[in-house]
């Protein structure tokens, strides 16, 4: 069974049944899943979760759909890695990386899609669709293939080659649109009205989809021994992930899984070439002006973020901050994480790490805090961004002479290669 009581508008509190609805018919505010927290508190236990599968479905009670056989490729339960070498470089103390590159299709989107399509199938949908900057396209195409659903994914035409190939390989329909992600998103929002029998995971079933991101908080808390961190750094595109990470920690306490009330500072990371929410934060305004994105971090290139306003409120009320970083800083961030911790992130991960570095230098992220940085997509998806700056140290003929002439690696046995 699930503990869902229905859907509720975040703006005007009107209630709706748990159907394929994403906005309030009256005020167009976003609908959110409402749960019976009292019943959850009486039912859910750490022991039950700990004996569950090594996937997001160990938290099924706290998700908006109950199904003995969810549409599942094994999303979730990704490593939480203590990052001492990176912490030392940044002057931080206890730093952890939530390595969500380790998901089945290489990004956190497997979490939200597994939830969304399981619910969509339960609601009777046979077509899985989405508007995507790439990672979501991968996850929808793969999960739909596994479930035997038809997939129709819409992407901007100029996406990274890897993200197009890793979507198309699953055999669904891939529609490349001549425009930005915001154009694709507008098209899909309009198509939803004309194709009500299609489940657009981030439009008409977005209410359920978004809830999948709570598992990013659930897992971190469980991996830290059922404790919340002091500060999290989350990349921001639509802003949904950030708000749901914050909600995840709050919810764990509400249902009695955390002993202490969490006070997690939530900070948001954006690329300078697409920073509508960071700009509103810096200007101290509530008005998020849409922008035309121009950044190497294409997975974060949403100029008109649906949950930007909520992400802004979440960051402000938690005592966190927003920062934005340039393309050069993003690529430096990717290399810094790879060099210090052996984790290869896509450009969005570079945004997270570069923002972490910036906030650490500003003293916003502090040495006395337990910090978790969310790295949510794999570097192999965006290798194009690095081909001009990363490559062989040297190219030689296959002879000893050539090697000795060209290569002089000074290895300190204790400290490793320098």
């Amino acid at each position: 069974m699930d503990f869902v009581t229905g859907l509720r508008c975040r703006e005007c509190a009107r209630t709706y049944p748990a159907a394929a609805l994403h906005v309030c018919d009256y005020c167009f505010g976003p609908l959110e899943v409402a749960y019976d927290y009292e019943a959850l508190r009486a039912s859910v236990t750490r022991a039950e979760i700990e004996s569950g599968p090594q996937t997001i479905w160990r938290y099924a009670s706290l998700l908006p759909v109950s199904d003995p056989h969810p549409i599942d490729l094994g999303a979730g339960c990704t490593p939480l890695v203590r990052a001492d070498r990176l912490a030392a470089e940044l002057g931080l103390g206890e730093l952890w990386i939530k390595n969500d590159t380790a998901n089945p299709t290489g990004s956190f989107k497997d979490r939200v899609v597994s939830v969304a399509l399981t619910k969509a199938r339960q609601l009777g949908f046979k077509v899985a669709a989405c508007a995507s900057t790439g990672n979501l396209a991968n996850a929808v195409a793969a999960h739909a293939a596994r479930a035997g659903m038809v997939s129709v994914v819409f992407i901007p035409r100029d996406l990274e080659v890897a993200k197009i190939v890793t979507t198309a390989v699953y055999g669904g329909h891939v529609v490349a649109v001549e425009g930005t992600y915001d154009d694709v998103n507008r098209l899909c929002a309009e198509l939803t009205s004309e194709h009500p029998t299609w489940a657009f995971v981030n439009v008409n079933v977005r209410t359920y989809y978004a809830e999948g991101s709570k598992t990013l908080a659930f897992e971190v808390a469980e991996q830290l021994g059922w404790q919340a961190p002091d500060h999290v750094i989350v990349p921001v595109a639509s802003g949904s992930q950030l708000t749901k990470v914050a909600k995840g920690f709050t919810e764990l306490h509400a249902v009695g899984l955390l002993d202490e009330e969490p006070h997690v500072r939530v900070s948001g990371a954006q690329a300078a070439g697409c920073s509508p929410v960071a700009t509103a934060f810096a200007e101290g305004t509530d008005a998020i002006r849409p922008v035309k994105p121009h950044t190497v971090a294409k997975s974060l290139a949403i100029g008109n973020p649906a949950d930007g306003w909520y992400a802004l409120q979440t960051v402000r009320s938690s005592g966190g901050a927003f920062e934005s970083v340039t393309d050069e800083e993003i690529l430096d961030g990717i290399r810094l994480l790879a060099r210090t911790e052996g984790i290869f992130a896509e450009t969005a991960g570079g945004v997270t790490i570069a923002t972490l570095a910036k906030l650490a230098a500003q003293g916003v992220v502090r040495r006395d805090e337990r910090v978790v940085a969310y790295v949510t997509g794999h570097g192999l998806k965006t290798v194009e961004a690095l081909v001009s700056s990363v490559g062989p140290s040297v190219t030689i003929a296959p002879t000893m002479e050539a090697f000795h002439r060209a290569v002089d690696i000074d290895v300190d046995v204790i400290g490793g290669a320098r």
């Binding site: 703006e11 994403h22 906005v23 018919d25 009256y26 005020c27 167009f28 505010g29 976003p30 508007a131 992600y181 915001d182 154009d183 998103n185 507008r186 899909c188 929002a189 309009e190 939803t192 009205s193 004309e194 009500p196 657009f200 981030n202 439009v203 977005r206 595109a237 639509s238 802003g239 949904s240 992930q241 002006r289 849409p290 035309k292 949403i302 008109n304 973020p305 649906a306 949950d307 306003w309």
Partner: protein, 91 residues
């Protein structure tokens, strides 16, 4: 100017189920006001009490967000299409 307005599913109860409605107006704001006259209830749903568009309503003229143009003051040309689209989507 006659403009075709694309109506999202959420508002089609106001148009008797019609997805496209033709109305007259010289600006985006005038078109939306004319829409409310032709199909009472629109203004209440898409405008805040101060007359600005609600936070979660996006309006596109010929597929361009009017916030990149002159907002409600954007002039419209005969035969253009205006879309009302819920903002909560994507990401």
């Amino acid at each position: 100017m006659s403009v075709s307005v694309r109506v999202p599913a959420q508002l089609r109860t106001l148009t008797g189920g019609e997805a496209h409605v033709a109305v007259e107006g010289a600006t985006v704001g005038a078109v939306l006001k004319a829409l409310d006259v032709a199909h009472p209830g629109f203004a209440d749903r898409i405008f805040d009490t101060d007359g600005t568009l609600r936070r979660f309503v996006n309006v596109f003229l010929a597929d361009e967000d009017v916030r990149f143009l002159d907002g409600l003051d954007t002039p419209v040309a005969d035969g253009q299409t205006l879309s009302i689209v819920p903002a909560v989507a994507g990401g």
